[in-house]
Amino acid sequence: MTRITIGPFNRVEGDLEVKLDIEDGVVATAEVTVPLYRGFEQILEGRPALDALALAPRICGICSVSQSIAAAAALRGAMGIEAAPNGVLAANIAHAAENAADHLTHFYIFFMPDFARAAYKSSLWYDAIAERFAATTGRVGREILPARARLLEIMGMVAGKWPHSLAFQPGGTTRAIDLGERIRLLSIVAGFRSFLETTVFDGSLDSLLAIEDTEQLDRWRAGRGGDFCRFLAIADDLQLDRLGKGPGILMSFGAYHGEQGALFGRGVFEEPRGVTALATADIAEDVSHAWMRDGATDPALSATIPDPDKVGAYSWAKAPRLGGRPVEVGALARQTVAGQPLLRALAARSGSNVRNRVIARLIETAQLAVAMEKWIRSLRLNEPFCTDDKPQREGRAAGLIEAARGSLGHWIELSNGKISRYQIIAPTTWNFSPRDAEGRPGPLEQALVGTAVGSEGASSVAVQHVVRSFDPCMVCTAH
């Protein structure tokens, strides 16, 4: 058995170190270390309630709107405030834009460049893929980055700027949209749809989203170009559906709430039971292997106190568990729980793996383009975007939402208008958690086991695919 350390692990957001024990060229055990802690929860305690809106989003430069929306949702609950329906829609539009931009950034900038590595030089597809996707030099940079920037112009109109906006308030959003702006928003989304239909999918979103099972997907793919199909061809060749198997339980807090409920529902998916209700009271954080002091495990009651010299710890991340079990979160979990037909079919056939995680992100991106159009049209321009309810000064609530990378929760307690407790569990805290007191490894730690690294050891590109397939956001993880 040899132990190898992989780091700095890049093309993820933030810092990550992975230690692997290798036996006969195969990963036997994995240890995932989050090497950064900044203390946001400690900093928030004792501050005026609404300061959370200024500080919490600054945890992350890539999931900023998600953090804002979770903070606003937690405050809304604790303060007893009702949001204006227009504000909910406007927040959904900005949130979808961030999540779609994140999905594309992941696919084009973080994930695909690994197939342009020299390790694949002998593959038949290599030359074309390397020319298109090589990190920083691939041709696709000239298409994706301007398309991403144009999509994020939604933020200029709805939220002032991105990242880090104070537009997302418990009562709604701070900027009313007028008729001309509605048209401009529709024009941005139309441009985004056109980018997806030409560059990403080489086909209409309607035809893509009508696919219900793997046979239909095979027919739809046949003879088609586009980067989605390029990825599927590589996935077939490398059997990416057999790589990076998740823990088998998929969770979603539900996303994009509105007057008719959530666009993507809340729940837990597990074969063979299918979807069951999520018992949020079963969420607990274990710190047995984190450089954190022991205490309450319920995020509504716990505190975050670093213990840097703790024996046996190896990460700044706590280990969230649902009913004592590690669960996987992300686009695949969200879509499987929501019942998206193709992803349900894929999950039923091969579970959670590198390929299905990537497919889920791209399918969801298409769904978001369609949803944004609908939300923009639904804005009632003569009605308020923000309410002015008088806030309660005492209260306790959780803001449970979905960021691009999965379930994000902010637990807040207010005493006399001040924050007496603030706890955050980010998506990658779930996925990249360390072991718990029972010794159960976190989802990535499980997914890496069995990965064949052969003689490449630490430079194995298969390990890179597994890690990046989760689209980790490390700065959010330990915050």
């Binding site: 350390t5 992989i6 700095p8 692990f9 890049n10 093309r11 957001e13 810092d15 990550l16 170190e17 270390t33 090497p35 950064l36 802690y37 900044r38 203390g39 946001f40 900093i43 609404l50 300061d51 809106l53 500080l55 600054r58 430069g61 950034t105 900038i109 460049p113 990190a135 920083t136 940079g141 298409e143 980055l145 301007p146 991403r148 920037a149 144009r150 994020l152 112009e153 939604i154 933020m155 200029g156 109109m157 939220a159 002032g160 990242p163 880090h164 104070l166 537009a167 308030q169 709604g172 701070t174 900027r175 009313a176 007028d178 840097p308 308020p384 923000c386 002015d388 630490a458 890179q464």
Partner: protein, 316 residues
């Protein structure tokens, strides 16, 4: 990640067209793991020349000066140690964002990780590298402040360095490029008419000036925020919320960001270089001259009285 929005044909093309080569960038480079540690060893020993080292994020010195709150993965050493070493061989040292410049949010309150900026700890000179630090090209740390900074601020500064146009004389007292810091965030604010008449918004989402009640510090914060567009046409004040002075050292220590602190009914934070008596006198005068249109629109979330002759008394 803000810089990814820069460039008409994308950031990578922009870098190429100005001859800037990334030796390594954690979010976009191919090299990973041991490839990176080998590369950094070559940079550290001078085998690969380092024109500029760019840091995003505060330098975390804790616990107990070890830097262990932020280890550089795979190296067994902290970012605090790495940045100190790399700064010693770099032509220029650049902070991107108020965290790397001054400490930023992690330095707020108890400062649990002993966070600091590279050459400032809040408003105090010093920080991780010390007040007397000068890079190989004789420059102090260049601070592209802001949370997050505008993509244009980042690239214009870097490009000006490559063309040799940015010298120590082009930085203000906090190391911020003057082409950004010679302006106030207030300049070009689309709410300026409301500001002039002291027609103030009272609640979030209203159109009026945000200074009197809703915490806006744009008249005290440096930055050309309202003279350039953020994400195609936005800014904080256009977005309907206060400037929180994110380009200033120590901005994170404020509380109640969306409320104006007042003393005897007068905002504590007055425009940077305006005598208080004048401000009070002018405010009273302009309030008495405020057209009905401006006063009514200020407390609405959309225009209720359009401009017309007669100050809104006549229907158009």
């Amino acid at each position: 990640m803000a810089v990814l929005e820069s460039g008409q044909s994308g950031w990578f093309e922009e870098l190429r067209s100005f001859g800037i080569r990334l030796i390594w960038h954690p979010s976009v480079s191919e090299a990973t793991g041991s490839e990176v540690t080998a590369l950094l060893e070559q940079v550290r020993t001078g085998l690969v020349p380092l024109d500029a080292v760019i840091l995003e994020g505060s330098v975390l010195r804790g616990p107990h000066g070890s830097g262990r709150f932020n280890m550089f993965a795979g190296t067994g050493r902290s970012i605090y140690h790495w940045i100190t070493e790399l700064a010693g061989v770099a032509g220029y040292v650049v902070s991107v964002g108020s965290c790397a410049a001054f400490g930023g949010i992690p330095a707020a309150g108890l400062n649990p990780t002993d966070a600091t900026g590279l050459q400032f700890d809040g408003t105090d000179q010093g920080g991780a590298l010390g007040a007397s630090f000068r890079s190989r090209r004789g420059m102090p740390v260049i601070n592209i402040a802001g949370c997050a900074p505008h993509p244009g601020w980042i690239m214009e500064t870097l490009i000006a360095l490559t063309t040799g146009d940015l010298t120590a004389d082009d930085l203000d007292g906090f190391g911020r490029p003057k082409f950004i810091a010679n302006h106030l965030a207030h300049h070009g604010c689309s709410r300026n008419e409301y500001y002039e008449f002291k027609a103030s918004a009272e609640k979030m989402s209203e159109l009026g000036c945000l200074m009197e009640h809703l915490g806006c510090k744009a008249t005290q914060a440096v930055g050309d925020c309202n003279q350039r567009s953020w994400n195609g046409g936005g800014s904080c004040t256009k977005g309907g919320y206060a400037c929180i002075s994110c380009t200033s050292p120590g901005f994170e220590s404020s509380r109640n960001f969306l409320e104006t602190g007042k003393l005897a009914g007068i905002p504590i934070g007055l425009p940077l270089d305006m005598p208080k008596a004048w401000f009070v006198a002018l405010s009273a005068l302009s309030k008495s001259a405020t057209p009905k249109r401006v006063r009514s629109n200020a407390t609405s979330d959309h225009i209720v009285i359009p401009p017309s002759r007669g100050g809104g008394k006549n229907k158009p």
